[in-house]
Amino acid sequence: MNRDKNLPLTETVYYILLALLEPAHGYLIMQKVEALSDGAVRIAAGTLYGAIENLLKLKFIQPVGSDDGRRKVYHITEEGKKVVMLDFERMKHMIDVTSNKFK
């Protein structure tokens, strides 16, 4: 079976998608990613904006209505959830084979 061409996701994209399981605007995504990664992944504004644009293009996330006029709010799509799960399975497989090899 052909693997999804978007795999593997980068660490940044993976965490952004995880953060967007609940709707969030840009700065909130940054804070959530930092918390989810125990402070290891800090996304800068320029990088985040570019990543959001790419994810919107791929339809992994979508804009949702917000009360805050200036700040756009995004939410993960079904497509986005699917790709996170696929990448999760990929990593799980890597973890399984690695632990077997080192047993």
Binding site: T12, M30, A44, G46, Y49, G50, R70
Partner: protein, 208 residues
Amino acid sequence: MKRFRIYVDLDKEEKWLNEMANKGWKFHGKCINYEFREYSPDNAAYIKIDYRSFKSYDDLENYIALFKDSGWEHIAGTKTSGKQYFKRIEETAGDDIFSDISSKAERYKKMSNMWLSLAVCYIPIFTALVLTKAISINALLDPKLLYYTPGLWQKTGEAFWRAFLFETPFAIMRGYIWLLFPCLIILYFVFAVKAQKYYQKANPKNLI
């Protein structure tokens, strides 16, 4: 104070703007020229440049809000200007507006595409000028053809010089203004290639 410069190398441009701020010239906008206002020298000035154009003002606002939230103030740039200038306003903002190499390099790719599309836009205009014979190659070889004053070349002395100098600006416009198009096309291509080179240099992944 106004300064005219064209930068393809964004690192050099950032460095120049910071140096100007150190000397007390605060960069506050760009419209063909870089515009500076005199201020007390600011040694802590820290300016970074992104390259991005927007479909709507809402998108630009949203973009500016994201930077502002994370400690960067938008100081120059419009919806379609490409270059967007940011100044660090909070120490917690970190050292850069990018956190990985590829997104930082991506700026040069966008810039290269912009110069390339500008160059390509001028090609049809230039072609039309050639095809409609608006451009005369003969005039390049024999500039005398560009002077329309009857009997100009038979005149002598002051009368000749007066008529000759009077018509020269018109002759130049008539004969050579079209050279602007190929010059711009070449210039834009040079910028596009230069930006592409910076892109490859900044993004080591592309060298493999």
